[in-house]
Symmetry: C2
Subunit: 582 residues, 2 copies
């Protein structure tokens, strides 16, 4: 037996017991005649003592140990003379009588501490060592608990977890598929699922009523900073439901997760129309932990001779409370900030409403103080505030002001890590017009139901149609999204037509689903959450990477195992494939 | 709101309530002035009544409904005049006042009943309809509960579920990998995991101590009757453990699953040496619900002039209790049975120990009754029994007699569906010699630890070495298997050498794991269960296919969605791949 207790288990009640522990050498200190070694496992750290006077051979052996060596010790639990109240085992220590080195360790390339000295690259290469550090360990434990609590909650409400296949069919709609060549059917391919969308809909047709699955999804996209080619979804679907049924159910799940995992009680989630989110925050995932809603100023500021505003489609600002004392340097920084290519604005107009009631702005020569003051009135600003205004084409201006608003939220420390502001964004547009390809795309996906429209209305003005779709947003981060689905063959066919599918294409790619709709498909809808994302938000973190045990880097590569990599020529031959080097 | 209750909810306490139900039309009966319709959902069936006298329009509408139409009804709960004690809702019915057809159904291609009239092929094509039938629904619900109970049990014992990647590296050892071309790195490939073996070992190196994962695994093998290219494992690993720790832990899990899911209390599992299993049952997964152990009869039956026995490497028999009254025709059937190509035996010798104490056999001219009677003594047979004897090369003879033993178990109805006989088979050989390629294969996998042997012993006689590996077998079916792993770089290198890897090959394929062993790898071991298999065994079923929502057929094809299938030429071009039709 390798151990009687873990390294986190011993307490004063164990004093005088003889115990066996196994673990890793965390650190060791030689203090005159004594050697102290901290031994670590997943559960904690226990202090071991070796006495040079009473057992010099053993003590000498202990002094040879290096960081991360794996050892087994047998010894006697005693009360510590200098207790450590910061450690659960801090009231005791173990006087060792037997020491076995189970496995030596080379010196790790970085320190296994909460704050390590290792850079990103070396830590990815030695991920198995990075995973020993507490921050990553705590992330993976939180993720595990998140999955457990999700399953418990949904199981209690009669949801059934059903596994759907990973070897499915490639469908060009949406993102790019990873494909898997079939050896038994050369020239044919499986694809890895971007989500189990069609399968969960089929399960509704099968009558399973309440389905969920914590499931891996795959997208072969060029990776942005925080994207992974494989990621995990909490995927859910319900039958005989309307939008409110889904929102209520999954608001319940979200509240349960926040309460059970981080002891945060969330209030009821407000609903915000997509159009309002765009108009007031310039984003379909607004961070509503703080105000600074957009105010549109075309009426007040156009036609006063300031060409930038006069020619703009939209003049829009945010009132930054208490920032009228921003220095010239700080304001210039903000202007530089919005001019960065990532934001892409041409400039920024600022207006100070000084504490003494006077107005000072970067456009004083175009506007009277009264004009500018009326902007503050519209924005509900007061003396001491700063108005930041941008202008130009509507969408890009809103996008840029959204970035600036979040930046101001950060600067004013209004985006608090331990504060959570959830909301439902509803009534998304059904379709997006793609200028480049002169066609519509489904904003959510082609299975999303239009919101109360008839097939005839779809024809008349497709771009005005709202989808019965919804997103759950917390702190400016989209945690999940879903929709009520189409369950009628004719409407689904119409939708594919709008998206530019020929009848043959629709039939060959989604004929199975439309066929299923003819055999008694119930009204249904669902939602999917990004599990990695939920775990990160619960921890107040932005990046999902350290909530995934073995993530890929931005080039889609696992540098630890070195994949993707070349394969044996015979493997390609068996698949009747050739690498085409041109 | 689509419903106030499910179709399985109504009870006498609901009498006089006005309710709304939604579901599928299961069947309808017109009885004079009344129409009765059974409406079905996942939760049950409720009887609806329509009265031609009081509401002829509605009743007429109800009479138009077809099987599997999706309807919503509003009505009044009343007590049934003729109650149905076989249905939970059988004491009430709903007098309908409002009927909405939510979706019409075409006539299904087969009946949605427990015993359907649909053949295998049509049911696979319309899997979403087959999944409506109770037997499949119950299978998927059992599978869900199995996963929930597994997670609950392991979570309570400090196991953490950690997700490992699906896009990993191809390693030619073992079965064939499915590969996934990388677009970002043309000419390079990911592979889908055959199991998370190396990742779970790395998690042990990382100190996670107790890991599990319910995880999909992939093998591109030519499919036998009951194999699937993707299947689900309950994958587990523990640190600082010896074999007994693992067996105790997972015997506990197995007992918990049987108790909580089908209310069966299992006794402690016996351990059987691999060598004994082969010697006594001709199989490494013996069905020990019944006896008929092999008895070796070389000593008694050789050198009496019967050439078939005299020239055989092994003469071995089973005593079939109470079968001495088998007719000549029945015995000939058995002989035909073992001669089938699937069994491949050349023949079968039978010896009857008649109730009157006399002996009759197919080899009476070679042996005295005393000789034959002594065989029964060795086999612990008695008057009324039948001895069946086979002879030849040891392995093939054992294989054939194993098949015959199971057949006799079936014929004598000794393999009872509701009886469960688990056992651990231990001490497997470490290596198998592959005559064709003149090399060793790892019997379990290359990470399996030899059983107490030194590196030197590995050199001397590799094929005699036992592995520290174990299988859990129930009723002749292997539910899971595992081993204590190698955690030392030198031993792992030696193992790869024995398996014919060059140092470069070992390094390029498994260098990351051997590297990890140098940074404090703890002793560790684990096990993996086939989840699909466990679900089938719990249900007393042989085939796993109907425990998978959307399985592939024997050609690896999903005929419902029609995959694998051709992909767009551009997809291949992007991957810089070409289909090589030669």
């Amino acid at each position: 037996m390798y151990r009687t207790h873990t390294c986190g288990a011993l307490r004063p009640k164990n004093i005088n017991e003889t115990v066996t522990l196994s673990g890793w050498v965390q650190k060791s200190r030689d203090l005159g005649g004594m050697t102290f070694i901290d031994i670590r496992d997943r559960y904690g750290i226990t202090q071991l003592t070796f006495n040079m006077e009473t057992n010099p051979v053993l003590c000498e052996k202990a002094r040879q140990l290096g960081r991360e060596d794996v050892v087994q010790v047998r010894g006697h639990v005693i009360e510590r003379s200098s207790k450590n109240p910061n450690m659960p085992t801090g009231e005791v220590e173990v006087t060792v009588s037997q020491l076995t080195v189970l496995n030596k360790s080379k010196l790790p390339p970085f320190t296994i501490e909460d704050e390590t000295d290792g850079g990103e690259e070396i830590r990815m290469k030695f991920r198995y060592l990075d995973l020993r550090r507490n921050p990553l360990k705590n992330n993976l434990i939180l993720r595990h608990k998140l999955a457990i609590e999700t399953r418990k909650y949904l199981d209690n409400l009669d949801f059934i977890e059903i596994e759907t296949p990973y070897l499915i069919k490639s469908t060009p709609e949406g993102a790019r598929d990873f494909i898997v060549p079939s050896r038994m059917h050369p020239g044919e391919f499986y694809a890895l699922p971007q989500s189990p969308q069609t399968f969960k809909q089929l399960l509704m047709v099968s009558g399973y009523d309440r389905y969920f699955q914590i499931v891996r999804c795959f997208r072969d996209e060029d990776l942005r900073a925080d994207r992974q080619p494989e990621f995990t979804q909490i995927d859910c679907e319900m039958s005989f439901v309307e939008r409110e049924d889904i929102l209520t159910m999954f608001e319940g799940l979200t509240k349960h997760l926040f309460k059970s995992l981080i002891n945060i009680t969330l209030d009821d989630f407000p609903h915000m129309l997509y159009d309002d989110a765009i108009r007031l925050y310039g984003s379909d995932k607004p961070d509503i932990r703080f105000g600074m809603q957009f105010v549109e100023l075309n009426q007040v500021l156009q036609n006063s001779g300031f060409k930038v505003f006069d020619e703009a489609e939209l003049v829009v600002g945010i009132n930054v409370p208490g920032a009228s004392n921003y220095s010239r340097k700080q304001l210039d920084q903000l202007i530089d900030f919005v001019k960065r290519p990532q934001v892409g604005a041409k400039g920024l107009v600022w207006v100070k409403y000084n504490e003494d009631g006077s107005i000072k702005s970067s456009v004083d020569k175009f506007y009277t103080p009264e004009q500018l003051k009326s902007c503050f009135e519209i924005a509900k600003g007061k003396p001491g505030d700063l108005l930041l205004i941008m202008a130009g084409e509507t969408n890009s201006t809103r996008n840029a002001l959204n970035v600036l608003r979040l930046e101001m939220g950060d600067r004013l420390e209004l985006r608090k890590k331990n504060e959570f502001a959830p909301l439902w964004v509803i009534d998304f547009p059904l379709l997006e017009w793609d200028e480049e390809h002169q066609r519509f795309h489904a904003m959510h996906h082609p299975f999303t139901s239009p919101s109360g429209n008839t097939i005839e209305e779809l024809n008349d003005n497709p771009s005005a149609i709202k989808a019965n779709a919804y997103d759950l947003v917390i702190n400016g981060i989209e945690l999940g999204g879903g929709s009520i689905r189409i369950h009628d063959r004719t409407l689904q066919e119409k939708m594919f037509e709008l998206l530019g599918f020929s009848q043959e294409e629709a039939e060959s790619q989604f004929g199975f689903l439309m066929g299923a709709f003819e055999y008694g498909a119930p009204p249904h809808g669902g939602i999917a959450f990004g599990l990695d994302r939920v775990a990160a938000v619960l921890s107040g973190e932005e990046s999902i990477r350290d909530f995934i045990a073995f993530p890929k880097n931005n080039a889609g590569r696992d540098v630890m195992i070195d994949t993707p990599s070349a394969i044996a020529e015979e493997q390609l031959t068996e698949l009747k494939l050739k690498h085409d080097k041109n």
